[in-house]
Each structure stands twice: as C-alpha cells, then as structure tokens.
C-alpha cells in the first residue's frame, strides 16, 4: 500500500470530534470573511468614487446590493472551501497555481486552460452544441453587463460632456479621463448601448434554456423551480426591462420609464442577493476548477500515473489518488484503500465475493 505524499493537517487530527464545534468555527470564519470583503468593497467604493463625489445616489440600491453580494459570496465561498473534499482539492489547486516550478515547466498551461475552460467553455460543447452556444451568449452578455454596471454603480466610471448634453463625451475612471468619444459615431453608440447589447445576448440564451427546461425530459428530471427556473426568469426579466427602458426613452419619450426603472432595479437587486445561494454560485465557484485541472496536469507532466492494483490499468494521477484518500479519511470513510482498485475491479471483486461467499447459483 502506498503512503500519502501529503502530511495530514495537524488541526484536523482524528481525535477532534466532527460536528458542531467545527461547524461553528466554519460559520464564524465565513462571517468574518464576508464582513471583511464587504468592508473592503465599501472602502473601494468610497475611494473609487473620489469620496462619493462621483457616486450617483440614484444607483444607491444597486451599490448596496453589491455589498450584500460581496458578503454572500465570501461567506458561501468560505463555507464551501471548508468542506473536506473542496478544501483538499482547493489547496492542491492553489498549490499548483502558485508553484514557480510549474510555471517554468509549462508557462502557457494556465492561460490556455483559463481561455478554453472559463472563456470558451469547450467542455459545454462536449455536452451539447446548442447548450454551449446558449451558455456563451449568457456568459458574454452577463460579463459585459457586469463590466459596465458594477463600476458605474460604484461611481468608478463617469461620463461627462463639456457641452452639457453631447454629442462629445469623455469617460473617466476614478476621476481620470480615459477617452473621449462622440456619442453619434459607431464606437460612441456602442458605448452608450453596451447594456442593450448585453440584453440582446442574454435573452436568446436564457430563453433557450427556459424552453429546454419546459420540453426536455432529461432536464425536467429532478428540476426545481427556485434552483433551475428562477435564475433564468431573473435574467430574462432584467434583460427585458433593461431593453424596455431604452425603448421607452427613445420611442415613448420616457413613458412608463419610472415604473420600468423600479421593476428593473428590483429584479437586479434580488438577483444579486440571490446569487451566492442558488445556481448562480457556479459563477464564482467554477474558476477554482482550473486549479483541479492544473493539479492533474502537473502530475501527468511528471508521469505520476496511478495504476489499478488488480488490472494495472491507469486510474488517475498518483497525487490525485493520495489526495482523494486523504479526503476520504477526513470524512471517516474507512474504505479508502479500495481506491487503489479501478471501479471495474471493485465490481468484479464484489461479484466474485458474492459467488464464493453468498451464493453461487440460483438458490
């Protein structure tokens, strides 16, 4: 039997009983992390908006929602990475990420992983091309919207016109002029309608998923409203109300604008607050998976492949298997030595044991 390459953490000594004390400490740590991150954000808002000089008070509810969002995300993230399975893999991932040796050996691995995995999301294409396309629409739409709205609500971006109402505008970040543009040319139009473009991207993507959740028996299996449907409805409501705001200001001379603005704001605020607790949490959770990928990649580079004890076929990388066995020991799953056998051999061994020790034939 092989020995784990990693030494057990002293603070997770087996004699420490699992349960409430550990749980409380996790809760406390998570609360602390949440508070710290939200505080940091508040400070950043104040400083970034030049001591609130650039802060648009009309956007206050949005800004408050982002502070809640920061708390929620930090809290959930801390709880999540405290669970044994996540904690070990997370540490191994971080370890691989910040390893200078890794960087020297394969400097392009991480950026390429991030691009194919987090950006292009090739793995979704392997599941279904249609889902990949729809997810890409939502992903880039949301990213665009977030890149525009978050700095705006925090008062980090300002758009000012020396003539009062255009068409010449200049954009400032933290008070510094970044660029000037004409709102009537194409670049200017795109700048002003970035959110509409985001909405146009998100609506078809989210609608496809919603349609699929109504029709597809596989998707419907075990589907829950709050977890699976609500996020899609939120995205669609936000995008549609956002587009309607533009529609109202251009074609209706502001008709219904106030009502729409409130509806839009409510939907955004609720979505942001809900984000850490539902399906959207995968947005902040997923990047850590690159660490897992890098961890396995590093071991593969060193040709550390673990082979099944019985059939000799590769199971996974050696450090990964040790990491999993450590996780199982943390969880008091006392059959961690069975990991040394591939799943097929586990089944064949069990089948053999049944034949020899339980019954050989019909009776």
């Amino acid at each position: 039997m092989s020995e784990p390459t990693e030494v057990l953490e002293p603070d997770l000594a087996p004699q420490q009983p699992p349960g409430p004390p550990a749980k409380r400490s996790v809760t406390a740590r998570a609360t602390l992390a949440g508070a710290a991150v939200s505080l940091l954000l508040i400070v950043a808002i104040v400083l970034g908006s030049r001591l609130l000089r650039d802060f648009d008070s009309a956007l206050l509810p949005y800004a408050v929602a982002t502070v809640f969002l920061a708390f929620g995300v930090a809290y959930r993230y801390t709880v999540w990475v405290s669970a044994p399975g996540a904690r070990r893999l997370f540490r191994r991932g971080i370890g691989s990420l910040f390893s200078a040796a890794n960087f020297r050996k394969a400097p392009t691995a991480l950026p390429r992983m991030a691009a194919t995995y987090l950006g292009l999301q090739k793995f979704l294409g392997a599941r279904s091309h249609a889902r990949w396309a729809a997810h890409q629409l939502i992903f880039w739409g949301c990213l665009l919207a977030a890149a525009i709205t978050f700095p705006l609500t925090w008062g980090w971006f300002t758009f000012t016109s020396s003539t009062g109402s255009g068409p010449g505008y200049e954009m400032r970040i933290w008070g510094y002029k970044v660029l000037g543009f004409d709102s009537l040319d194409l670049a200017g139009w795109l700048m002003f309608h970035g959110l509409d473009i985001a909405a146009v991207l998100v609506i078809p993507g989210a609608s496809y998923f919603l349609w699929r959740r109504m029709k597809d028996r596989g998707a419907i299996t075990g589907q829950r409203f709050a977890y699976d449907l609500l996020p899609l409805i939120c995205l669609i409501v936000i995008s549609v109300t956002g587009l309607l705001l533009t529609f109202s200001s251009i074609f209706l001379h502001g008709g219904g604008y106030e009502f729409l603005a409130i509806l839009h704001m409510v939907s955004v605020v609720l979505t942001l607050i809900y984000l850490p607790f539902g399906k959207f949490f995968h947005i902040v959770q997923r990047p850590a998976a690159v660490g897992m990928q890098l961890f396995k990649y590093t071991a593969r580079q060193d040709e550390q492949v673990f082979a099944c004890k019985r059939c000799g076929e590769p199971v996974d990388t050696g450090p990964y298997v040790e990491n999993l066995r450590g996780t199982m020991r943390d969880l008091k799953l006392g059959f961690d030595s069975f990991v040394e056998y591939c799943p097929r051999c586990k089944r064949v061994l069990r089948g053999n044991a049944y034949l020899t020790q339980v019954k050989k034939g019909f009776r």
């Binding site: 092989s2 691995a109 390429r112 992983m113 194919t116 793995f123 599941r127 279904s128 091309h129 249609a130 889902r131 699929r212 029709k215 597809d216 028996r217 596989g218 897992m292 990928q293 396995k296 990649y297 593969r300 580079q301 040709e303 550390q304 492949v305 673990f306 082979a307 099944c308 004890k309 059939c311 076929e313 590769p314 199971v315 996974d316 990388t317 050696g318 040394e340 591939c342 799943p343 097929r344 089944r347 050989k360 034939g361 019909f362 009776r363």
Partner: protein, 771 residues
C-alpha cells in the same frame, strides 16, 4: 503505487485519465448525446411486437409528431410482461436507419456495379427474366425462397405467388434451416405441428427439461418463465454441451457430446422403463407403437449412452428419476437437438420420453419446441414450404390439392407438385436445374451451411432477385434488389412459439421508394398476367383469404380476425369459429390430430453424426447464436449497441488446448477454415469448440459447417461436424455490412467491428471492456 506511463507529447490540458469502463460512452447506439431526442411532446405509442425471435414480446414503438419511429417503451403484454432483450430494445433503430435501401438496385450481369433504378425498370427486367428462363427451361427452372420472419400473410403469399404466378414447384423457405425437424416429429407423433403447451404452463410444472436451447441468449425473455417455475420449486434439467447461462445454475446440467442427443434420451427412457416409472395406463389409452419403442430403448442402457454421450452414467439415471418422478414435467427443445442429420429422431426421442411418463395435455405437463424466428411457427403453416399448402395441407394429397385450387380459382392441373428443400435447391442451382431465383427475407450466404457450395450455387444462377430492407450479403450478389418495408411499416400477424397468433401494427409510413413485400409480389404477378388472383391492397385482404383457406384444416385460423387479435392480445390456433377462444393447450382431451386420435410413438435409433471424426479432425464443432445478434446478422450487425456488445465472432475453447484469451486460433474442417480469437472457458466440453454464426465470410461459421441433411426434415447438420484447431498468426477482420453503391455502413455503429478481441463472455463484452 505510482508508475510512470509513456506519454506522448503534447500532453492534453484537460484531465485525460479515467479508470477503464468509466469514461466509455460508445455504447450509445451511435446516436450522439446532443442529437438524442428527449424533447418529445405529443408522441404516440403504437402497440406491436418485436420483430426478432419466436417469443414475440409485446412492445410499444414511440412515434413522434412527424410520424417517425424514434424509440421503444416496454409493453405489459402477457407474453413478456414488459420484459425485453437487448435485440428487442434496439429493434426500433432499424426503422429509420441510414443503411436502409430506398430504391431498387439493378444490374444486368454480375460484372457490373449496381445502379439505382425505378421500380418499373426493376420489375420489367425481373418479369422479362422470369419469362425468358421459364420459356426456355420450363416453369420449374425458376425458384422462390421465402423467410420465416415475414408476416404470416406474406408467407401465404410467397407460396401462392410461386405456385400460381410462377407455376413452379420450387418454393421453400429459411425455416428449413430452423424448425422443420420439430415440425416433422410433431406431424409424425401428433399429426399437428405446434408446441403442445403455452409458456404459462412452465410456471406450473414441477420439472422442466430444456434440451439444446441456450434460452438465456436465444430467448432471453423466456427465462422469466424458467425462473418463475424454479421460484415455485420446480427442478431444471439442461442438456447442452456448453454451460450456458441457464445451465450454470440448473439442478442438472448434462454436458453431452454434440450429436448424441437421441442416445441420451433413449437411455433416459431406458431407465424410466427399467425403474417402472413409465405411465402404462396413459400409454395404453393414448398411444400406438409403445411396444416397439420399449423394445428399442432396451438397447440403450445408461452405460452405453454414457460412453456415447461422454456424461456420467449416474446423471442419466438422475435425469430419468427427476423427470419421471415429477408430478408434472415439461420438456422443451430447440435447434441444439434439431440441427442434426437425425434432427427428427432427436425430437421424437424427447416426445417419447414425455409421452411415456404421461406428461402431455395437462397444465404444467407437456412438450414444445422453441421456434427461433419471429414467425417460425406461422411461417411454416400456410404454404411456403415445398411440400405444404395453406392450412398445413399436403401438396401430395389429392383432396387437399382440390380444396386449394377451388379457393385460389385455378385448374388443378396448373398446381405444381411438391418441390425440394432449400439446401437441395442450392444443389439444383449448381446443376443448373434452377436458373432463376427470387429470394424474399433470407440471407443464405450467411445462414446456409457449407458456404462454398452456396456461393457456387447462387453464382450459377442466370437471374437472382432479392427482397430486403438492408443489403444483405446474399442480396449484394443478386441482379435485382427490391427495397421492402421493415416490420414496423406494415401490419400483419405472426404465430409465436406457443402457436399464439399475434398482431403487428403499422407504426410509420415506409420511406419514399420502399414498398411492402405484398405489393411487390402482387405487382410481379400482375405483370405476369395473374392480376385477378393477386388483387391484395394490403395484409388485411390477404389475411381474409388465408382465414378461408385454412378453415376446416388442422391449422384453422378461420375464427381469428384482426379485431379479435387486438382485443385479446393473441389467439392460439386452431380457432375454427369467431366465438372460439382458441386452443392454448393441445391434447387436453387425450386426442391427437391423427384420425385415430392416438399418439403415434416412433422408434428412434441413434447414429453417429455425418462428418466422421478422425485423427486430423478429432473435435466437434458446434455453432449457435449469441444474445446480441439475430440469425444472419443483416439487421443486428447494423445496430450500434449490439455491435458494441458483441463486435465479432470467436471460437470458444476449453483451457486444456493451451490457448489464452484472444489468441488467434484457426478452426479447420473438411470444408474450410477460419481464424478467430479464442475465448477460453471451462464452460465448454474439452472435445468441443463453438463458433457463433451471425457473421459473413471470411468470418462465417457456415464456411465450416456440413451440408448433410436429415433425410426426413432436410434440416442441415449445423450443430456438429468434425474439426481441429491450431494456432494462427492473425485474427480475420469482420467485413462491414454491405450497402447500396455510394453508401457507407453507418460508421457510428461500426466503430468496434474491427476490434480483434473476443467478447468477455459468450454474452458479449462487459460494459467496462469496451472501447
């Protein structure tokens, strides 16, 4: 245990190692996940039955809103109670399969390539060739070969087409390779040709004897009846040279030497008589010929049979006591004892055993054969057999001939005489006695024994047309191929192994360019000037004529109508009137269909198989099926999941020969040789090797088998011939199934076909051993 593996640069960025069998999804049947349609709204379920074996499991075909079959759903029909085997589950994938033929193929000589032509052109050419050959060489120079996977209506039409439209005596069918030994034995003993008991009787029996049937692989869904009987305490006896899935757990497994069945059953009967276990009262009341049989079996003491069969003497005694000692016992057999040059005798020896112990005509006590093809029973009843007319009538009986001529409206002098059997017809092709042939629903290039002879016979034909929905190996050698419907595109009846007539329903319209076999036969008949006797718009009209044609005969279908079949889920013939419930169990009144009402027991003498053993050929080669494939494999070798399960044939050998799993082994007989991967297992006799027969040359088991026939049933001796094995250099690759010119066999289904490894077990590859 960390071991370095050689890595080929560049290393993939994504994790690329996973344990064997966890990451393999090629068993998906060839349908990529994102094209899998799970978003079916408004689908309809069409109740029908499976197209494959003689169990005829009920199933629903799932039909989408565009009217296309796209899936299967279990159906709670009382034959199968929702159960299905892997073939049945995948059957639906044939319907809209990319390999389907959708236009007639034609060439004027075998040197040319096939070209797609119009129906008119193909039929005109066919009719002109029929006229030419029959004009020059007489009507009998043109033959017709039918099939037992056709609906009964179509089998009726094949016989009528040959005799009325072509006026040839040469008509036979591929049931000749399948059920005729049992049919012959049934006729001789009982005067009626069908199983005596329904499947449900198996649940009531106390002792079940299965002879020569790998039920677990050939009739998987029937296993529930076997297990159901055992759950209720019945004992199970399996007679088979291989330890099959049902033999593995049986109470007694008689692993006899192939070709010694009648010696074994005679010896069992010997013990029954010697120990006074025979039912003398039953024998006296209901049988003739018992004295002769009793005298004959005296020559088969267990010691003799033990030596002949290669089984322990005690086992023979044990089987006799178990079977005769049971209150109710049943015996069932299949090709294992029927595919012999004494196939009829083998069946008779089982019948003798059942009758001598009084096990007949009672719930849970009886006898039956397990028909292999979907319509193995129905296909032999209504006149596509060389010597039979509809209703099981004999073509040599003047009264029967008169009756049929009256029904068909033809002159008695125009009705041809009896023809010859399928294998004999091939020999006649070699001799140019038959110069033209229409083949419907069969694939003799894979299914007939001694491939070299078959190929030569067919190649000698001046004209050869084949009806099929996939281009079979035989059709690929024809002049004209006519694309016809699959079972789900037409309606009709079949009779399963219980002689229960069941109704298949039409689930979708045939693709453009495809016609029903009924239409094609009627159209050729019309062009030959017999339109008046072939005016059948569809199966329903044929069935109406068939009902009348069978009325009053032993195989009486008169009381069966489509409506009644749909109401009841199946009616067992004879059913003489529309208010008759059918006859699931025969001989309940102790009377057979012979005029004297008696069971005519027949003396059986064992003789050695026709292919003599020698120093050069010391082993027995036996052939058979595997669970994932059906008959010649023209259907199942194109279905991805089934190809994945069992990609290729193998040779099963005992470890004593010194081979290891996967070693290339050459199997040699006096007819030829094949190189196959070895599947080494203790579950086969050391003196026997097994090769499954679903694949074409150069991997065809029937390149090795012997074309010796049973003198009465004319069934070939597939189940035993003399062979030897030797090590070889390389396993022969399985060829791709033929397709129409310009097409490639659907590649997603053929991915594993070229894999040289044998299966993990005779039932196929384990799910972790694929890839």
């Amino acid at each position: 245990m960390t071991s370095p593996l050689p890595l080929d640069p560049p290393l993939p960025l994504d994790p690329s190692i996973a344990p064997p069998g966890t990451r393999d999804f090629r068993d998906a049947g060839g349908i990529p996940a994102d094209r899998w349609r799970a978003d079916q709204n408004g689908e309809t379920l069409v109740p029908t039955h499976c197209c494959f074996c003689g169990v005829q499991c009920g199933m629903y075909l799932r039909v989408d809103r565009a009217g296309k079959v796209f899936g299967v759903e279990p159906r709670n029909h009382d034959i199968n109670r929702m159960r299905l085997c892997p073939k049945g589950i995948n059957a639906y994938q044939q319907v809209n399969h990319p390999d389907r033929l959708t236009a007639p193929l034609m060439r004027r000589s075998r040197d040319e390539e096939f070209a797609e032509v119009s129906w008119d052109e193909a039929l005109d050419f066919t009719v002109s060739e029929i006229r030419r050959i029959q004009g020059d060489h007489g009507n009998d120079a043109f033959g017709v070969l039918g099939g037992a996977s056709l609906f009964t209506e179509k089998t009726y039409l094949v016989g009528k087409f040959a005799r009325v439209a072509l006026r040839t005596r040469h008509v036979d069918y591929n049931g000749r390779l399948c059920m005729v030994s049992a049919a012959g034995a049934n006729k001789l003993s009982f005067g009626i040709d069908r199983a005596a008991n329904p499947f449900s009787d198996i649940l009531l029996t106390d002792c079940l004897l299965i002879a020569g049937s790998n039920v677990g692989e050939c009739f998987p869904v029937m296993t529930q009846y076997l297990w159901g009987a055992r759950d209720r305490g019945a004992s199970l006896i399996v007679v088979d040279p291989r330890e099959t899935a049902i033999a593995r757990t049986a109470d007694v497994h008689v692993a006899l030497k192939p070709g010694t069945d009648s010696a074994f059953f005679n010896a069992v009967l010997h013990v029954v008589v010697a120990e006074g276990l025979a039912d003398e009262a039953y024998l006296a009341a209901h049988t003739t010929g018992w004295d002769e049989v009793e005298k004959a079996v005296r020559a088969y003491p267990p010691s003799r049979a033990a030596a002949v069969c290669g089984v322990p003497e005690e086992q023979i005694v044990q089987v006799a006591r178990m079977f005769a000692g049971a209150d109710k016992a049943m015996a069932m057999h299949a090709r294992g004892i029927e595919h012999h040059s004494q196939g009829v005798e083998n069946c008779l020896s089982v019948i003798n055993l059942c009758v001598a112990t009084g096990n007949l005509g009672r719930p849970g006590a009886g006898y039956g054969t397990l028909t292999g093809q979907g319509n193995g029973q129905g296909g032999r009843e209504h006149g596509q057999k060389s010597d039979l007319l509809p209703g099981g009538r004999s073509i040599t009986d003047d009264e029967h001939r008169r009756q049929i001529c009256r029904i068909w409206g033809i002159e008695e002098s125009d009705l041809p005489l009896a023809g010859t059997s399928m294998m004999e017809m091939v020999w006649q092709m070699q001799r140019r006695e038959i110069r033209g042939l229409i083949g419907i629903c069969n694939n003799p290039f894979v299914s007939l024994p001694n491939y070299r002879t078959v190929k030569e016979g067919y190649d000698t034909l001046e004209f050869h047309a084949q009806f099929d929905f996939f281009l079979s190996e035989t059709a690929a050698a024809a002049h004209v191929v006519l694309p016809v419907t699959v079972w789900a595109e037409d309606e009709g009846v079949m009779a399963n192994a219980e002689a229960r007539v069941i109704k298949h329903n039409k689930a979708q319209e045939p693709p453009p360019g495809v016609r029903t076999d009924t239409w094609v036969m009627c159209e050729i008949a019309r062009r030959l000037g017999h339109g008046d006797t072939f005016d059948f718009p569809g199966s329903r009209e044929v069935f109406e004529e068939l009902r009348i044609a069978s009325a009053g005969t032993v195989n009486d279908y008169y009381g069966i109508t489509y409506e009644r079949l749909e109401e009841t889920g199946g009616i067992a013939w004879p059913c003489p009137a529309t208010d008759h419930p059918g006859t699931p169990r025969l001989f309940e009144d102790g009377r057979t269909a012979h005029p004297d009402g008696k069971i005519h027991l027949q003396v059986v003498e064992w003789h050695a198989p026709m292919d003599p053993y020698s120093e050069e050929y010391p082993l027995s080669l036996t052939t058979g099926r595997t669970v994932a494939h059906f008959l010649s494999g023209n259907q199942t070798r194109r279905l991805g999941a089934l190809v994945e399960q069992t990609p290729r044939p193998w040779v099963e050998v005992h470890p004593s020969h010194g081979f290891r799993d996967g070693d290339p082994v050459r199997v040699v007989t006096r007819r030829g040789s094949l190189v196959l991967p070895a599947l080494v297992t203790e579950a086969i006799r050391p003196d026997t090797v097994f090769v499954p027969y679903h694949w074409p040359m150069p991997t065809a088991a029937n390149g090795l088998t012997l074309d010796a026939l049973d003198p009465r049933s004319k069934i070939p001796e597939y189940k035993v011939c003399a062979a030897r094995i030797e090590s070889a250099a390389q396993v022969t690759e399985v060829p791709a199934p033929p397709t129409a010119p310009g097409h490639e066999a659907y590649p997603e289904t053929q991915a594993s076909r070229t894999d040289p490894r044998p299966p993990t077990s005779p039932q196929g590859r384990g799910t972790a051993e694929r890839g």
